[in-house]
């Protein structure tokens, strides 16, 4: 405000100065032109005086000129002589007006020299200019003062007041700026109102922000709880394999396997994995494809040397431009062993504990898949039905149990012994040597022919059965399991229908 006043003041001074010079110049020109006009007025009389060389007339002209305030001195000369001149006349600064012959206009016969009263003219001009500038200042200065005062009371002070109030307002609080009722309708009031609207908006925003933050904190706490207290082991891994977070369950699991929580993923698990290459490929693929991947791996616990099955789910997430992958671990060892048990049960015959037909088929299919040569012996018991009929089912069961046990003993673990059906057994050995196979078949017959001891109602009984055995070779006799069994069946029936208690190899 002070600056404004000062600059306005300076401007008016400069303007007054310019105005002064302008008026001064104008006045000077005007007076000079007046000198010219006066000189022009007397020029015809002066011409006559010059023509007639009339000194009296010339004196009259000169005196007339000098009687003007603005003319200091004058002289009238014809071609050769000075006809008249006023006292103090000097050539310096004189204006010359040439005089024509009154009767021959193109002829100059003399000259009037007029010296303007420069001092007087300038003084006059200065006075005039000064009074003009003075008038200007007299008008402008009070206006300026009035403007400054009004501006101070109407603008500066209310604005300063607003700014002082605004400085003391705490952002987001319910504080508002007080607006003077005098300013209610003007721009100052409008600024104040706008500030209040802004403050209200700020408060609302702050409030929203605050409640949002509380909500976020609550959620975060819940998520943290969910994550930390989750019974499912979870680790958060950065792209380079650095473990960023591990929940309690994950820590327990890792510590239980003798793994330091700080170790990088997946090397921390891979060192104890039974198939580390598959594990690494699996994680690499998951990271590369950014897909959710799930797989199960078997590990050896270095502390207990027992087998541990872990299920791994890898979930890729991007946060703040950085890729993370969440690894959900689950110890599925118990489930795995249960499944193994179930599968064992499904493949075994509950009476004899040998593979049942399903289990045998699975094994044989594996052999066929790996193109392993083998011989299949289909054993069908003769005279078994009478045992059941005469001595009861328990006796029959006992016979089956005993025979199964004996067969299991004569066949190595690497080969297969199974109960194919009610009184049918299948033995398979990875060998097609006829001598060896025949030898085994004879052994089988011997074992079966050996009577089974059975006690019923205090009576010791010896139950004896025989068997018809058909042999077929894979892949010599058939390419499929079904075909092979059919071949063995054909061979077995050829014995059954003839001699019984014997064996034969399938022949086409």
């Amino acid at each position: 405000m002070l600056l404004l006043s000062l600059s306005t003041f300076a401007f008016s001074i400069v303007y007054a100065k310019i105005y002064y010079h302008h008026v001064f110049d104008t006045e000077l020109k005007r007076l000079e032109s007046t000198v010219r006009q006066i000189s022009q007025t007397v020029s015809s009389t002066a011409s006559i005086a010059a023509y007639l060389e009339d000194k009296d007339l010339a004196n009259e002209v000169v005196n007339g000129l000098v009687s003007n305030d603005i003319i200091l001195s004058a002289a009238l000369t014809n071609k050769s002589t000075v006809l008249a001149k006023s006292i103090l006349y000097k050539d310096k600064g004189a204006l010359s007006f040439y005089l024509p012959n009154p009767f021959i206009l193109q002829e100059n016969i003399g000259v009037i020299r007029v010296v303007p009263n420069t001092l007087y003219i300038e003084q006059n001009a200065r006075d005039s200019a000064f009074s003009s500038a003075q008038t200007l200042l007299v008008v402008v200065l009070p206006m300026l003062l009035l403007f400054a005062i009004l501006a101070f009371f109407l603008i500066s002070r209310p604005l300063g007041n607003l700014s002082k109030q605004l400085a003391s307002v705490l952002p987001g609080s319910a504080q508002r700026i007080y607006i003077d009722p005098l300013n209610n309708q003007n721009e100052i009031g409008k600024i104040g109102k706008d500030i209040n609207i802004m403050l209200a908006n700020t408060e609302t925003l702050f409030e929203q922000e605050r409640s949002l933050r509380i909500e976020v904190e609550k959620l975060e706490k819940r998520f943290r709880l969910m994550f930390e207290r989750s019974s499912s082991p979870t680790i958060l891994v950065k792209e380079q394999g650095e473990v960023a977070l591990a929940n309690d369950a994950a820590k327990d699991l890792l510590v239980g396997m003798g793994i330091d929580c700080e170790e990088r993923f997946p090397e921390n698990l891979g060192q104890f994995c039974k198939t580390p290459d598959i594990l690494y490929t699996f994680t690499e693929n998951s990271i590369k494809l950014k897909q959710v991947m799930q797989s199960e791996f078997e590990f050896t616990n270095p502390l207990t040397h027992s087998s541990v099955w872990l299920s791994l789910i890898i979930l890729n997430t991007k946060s703040d431009g950085q890729w993370y992958f969440q690894v959900f671990l689950a110890d599925i060892t118990a489930r795995k062993s249960m499944l193994n048990q179930l599968s064992h049960r499904a493949q075994r015959d509950s009476l004899t504990s040998l593979y049942n037909r399903y289990g045998a088929e699975l094994t044989l299919m594996e052999w066929i898949d790996s193109e392993t040569q083998f011989s299949l012996l289909l054993i069908d018991l003769d005279k078994f039905k009478p045992v059941n009929d005469i001595y009861g089912h328990n006796a029959g069961d006992e016979v089956l149990k005993q025979l199964a046990k004996r067969l299991g003993q004569i066949v190595p673990n690497t080969e297969l012994v199974s109960r194919w059906g009610g009184d049918e057994f299948v033995i398979a050995i990875k060998d097609v040597n006829i001598v060896k196979v025949n030898h085994l078949a004879q052994q089988v017959l011997d074992e079966i022919n050996t009577p089974v001891a059975y006690e019923k109602n205090g009576h010791r009984l010896a139950l004896s059965v025989s068997a018809s055995i058909g042999i077929a070779h894979y892949p010599a006799h058939a390419q499929s399991l079904k075909g092979l069994v059919e071949c063995a069946d054909v061979a077995m029936y050829s014995i059954k229908k003839t001699s019984k208690n014997n064996f034969t190899i399938y022949s086409t």
Binding site: I48, Y51, L52, D54, L57, P102
Partner: protein
């Protein structure tokens, strides 16, 4: 009453006839036959008639003769001499007379009176219509029309 009207009417007739003759005829400048001057210039004429020099170019005094104010030849002559109207000429003289340095030429009522004066005055100089010139006069200048 009849006679004055007639006189005025005849005077007017004469005046208008003379005026017509004057404007139609050329004006010449004459001097006494015995005057040694043979010729004057237009400029010398101006200076003599406007009161600047009262002498002939040879230095002899000159008496300039003019007609009275109302004479019609006068305005024609001064117009031819200076290019100015008679009223401007009159204003000139009234200004000059005031200082007393110069005086206007002597005035005569008619050409006859002028001729008489020139014949009798050796230093006289006057202007006449060309057809009024007699043998006793010497023409020293002719206005070219």
């Amino acid at each position: 009453m009849k006679t004055p009207f007639f006189i005025i009417a005849s005077l007017l007739l004469i005046t208008s006839a003379e005026l017509r003759a004057a404007s139609a005829q050329e004006i010449v400048i004459v001097v006494n036959k015995n005057n040694p001057i043979e010729k004057v210039t237009h400029r010398q004429l101006i200076d003599m008639y406007m009161g600047k020099y009262l002498a002939f170019p040879n230095g002899h005094m000159a008496i300039t003769l003019d007609y009275r104010k109302e004479h019609p030849l006068r305005s024609v002559f001064f117009k031819a001499l200076t290019g100015r109207s008679i009223s401007q000429i009159n204003a000139y003289w009234s200004r000059v007379k005031f200082s007393g340095k110069a005086s206007p030429p002597q005035a005569y009522p008619s050409t006859e009176a002028i001729i008489d004066k020139v014949i009798t005055t050796p230093s006289a100089i006057a202007y006449l219509p060309a057809n009024a010139v007699t043998d006793e006069l010497k023409v020293v200048y002719r206005f070219v029309q």
